[in-house]
């Protein structure tokens, strides 16, 4: 089914790990998605092509943009933990919010739910999250005033 083909393509683009799994075991696509033989061949061809790396890079770059712009100090403070936290967040929130502030705020809530953030990172997070909340409050005020 085309809808499953498209869903598979989007999920593969969001997950380099899934791409590696499919390269190792192409048949796993058949168990995970409702695909015709032709759609399965197409997906295997895509995943094994060089360009899939570009899709994955751009996906991560575009999802990172709202977070890096609105939470720069938190990102720096998280250091080596950032990559793993981002992957976990993107896995838990597959639909991107096109509004950068909302997307950044959602990442803040995700980080607040993590138990073992370093103290310095938690302090930066509280500060930048408050700034984002204030901007969202202002936006809300504009909406009510219209």
């Amino acid at each position: 089914m085309l809808v499953d083909f498209q869903r598979a393509l989007a999920e593969l683009t969001a997950s380099p790990d899934l791409c590696r799994e499919v390269r190792a075991d192409p048949l796993m696509l058949r168990s995970r998605y409702d695909l015709t033989s032709k759609e399965w061949r197409r997906l295997v061809g895509i995943v094994t092509s060089r360009g899939m790396e570009a899709n994955c890079i751009l996906y991560r770059a575009n999802r990172l943009a709202p977070i890096a712009l609105n939470l720069p100090d938190t990102c720096t403070a998280l250091g080596n933990d950032l990559n793993q936290l981002l992957s976990a967040y993107w896995e838990s929130e597959p639909v991107t919010d096109v509004h950068f502030l909302v997307e950044a705020n959602r990442f803040c809530q995700f980080l607040f739910s993590q138990e073992a953030l370093p103290a310095y990172a938690a302090r930066e997070l509280r500060r930048e999250a408050a700034h984002i909340s204030a901007k969202l409050e202002l936006l809300s005020w504009h909406r009510q005033a219209r």
Binding site: S49, E53, V98
Partner: protein
């Protein structure tokens, strides 16, 4: 035949609107015939689950109107994801209709790319990631139905833009140019030919631009996009980061005079690269675009004269 620009029907030269464009219009506005607007950037979309989903970016529309007064405005959407195998987003469509009512788009374009699938979206913040579509009859039906719906809702012409593709989908039923030819002949949907996207595809996929352009029926092209890009980890991206590459200009000068329905030439860049281009760089792009438009109108005048004298 000696021809002045005012004597010939000439495509217009314009810019894709971004927050840096008001400054450009202040400085060199006389060179900008029209402005192309991404309506999705004029509002905040707080998500499908919210009741009051869209809220206008404060001051954005007012500023746009002030700066486009007397200029033609074209709409260029990024949100409807027409090839998605799911119903069109009716609330977003309503919002686009409202925007058209406010700004009066001369035509409206979207992309032949996938940005949304059920329960997942593909972010397109800056670096131009849209997923490729299956070029088959099923996708054609889906896109065709939605193009018809959009045209009906807006009451204006619809164009679709050719994408940058990193992973072409194997075993297509038809080539990309054939898909665009069919859209035009069966639905009247014109093509927004992004020559920089094509440039990226020639670098990343090794395809031939001449083969691609030669396969297009010449009447399908209504608008041309020009832009610059960057290399990223071995891939050339449509990042809208600078001036149009010389090769793209060569293609534009060779092919644009052959497109009888070409009405607009648009330069796009992202505001974060405004400093890199500067007013001088944008002025240079516009000068080259006007030269190109003149070349097109001269070719048209020559064709018309030839037709009159049956040569």
């Amino acid at each position: 035949m000696k021809l002045t620009q005012s004597e010939a029907i000439s495509p217009r030269a314009g810019l894709l609107y971004n927050p840096a464009i008001p400054g450009v219009l202040d400085a060199i506005g006389s060179q900008v015939d029209f402005v192309e607007v991404v309506p999705d950037r004029l509002w905040y979309d707080l998500g499908e689950s919210t009741r009051d989903r869209f809220t206008t970016v404060t001051g954005a529309v007012e500023e746009l109107k002030r700066y486009t007064d007397g200029r033609l405005i074209v709409g260029h959407g990024i949100g409807l994801s027409l090839p998605s195998a799911m119903p069109i987003d009716e609330r977003l469509l309503d919002q686009v209709v409202l925007s058209h009512g406010d700004l009066g788009y001369s035509w409206y374009s979207e992309h032949l790319s996938l940005f949304v699938v059920p329960n997942r979206s593909v972010p397109n913040a800056q670096a131009g990631l849209g997923l490729p579509v299956v070029l088959d009859h099923e996708t054609f039906e889906i896109v065709g139905d939605k193009v018809g719906r959009l045209a009906e809702a807006l009451g204006t012409r619809i164009l679709l833009e050719n994408p940058t593709v990193f992973t072409p989908i194997p075993e297509p039923d038809m080539s990309e140019p054939a898909f665009f030819n069919r859209l035009y002949h069966e639905l009247g949907c014109g093509m927004l030919l992004d020559l920089h996207n094509l440039y990226a595809n020639t670098i990343n996929l090794g395809i031939s631009a001449d083969d691609y352009l030669g396969e297009l029926d010449r009447e399908v092209v209504v608008e041309i996009h020009l832009a610059g890009g960057d290399m990223l980890k071995g891939f050339y991206t449509d990042s809208h980061s600078g001036a149009t590459p010389p090769t793209v200009w060569d293609w534009a000068r060779t092919w644009a005079p052959l497109f009888p329905n070409l009405e607009a030439i648009t330069f796009e860049y992202h505001e974060s690269y405004h400093g890199r281009l500067g007013i001088t760089g944008i002025r240079r792009e516009l000068e080259l675009m006007h030269d190109l438009a003149f070349k097109v109108s001269a070719a048209r005048a020559e064709d018309a004269a030839c037709a009159r004298s049956s040569c």
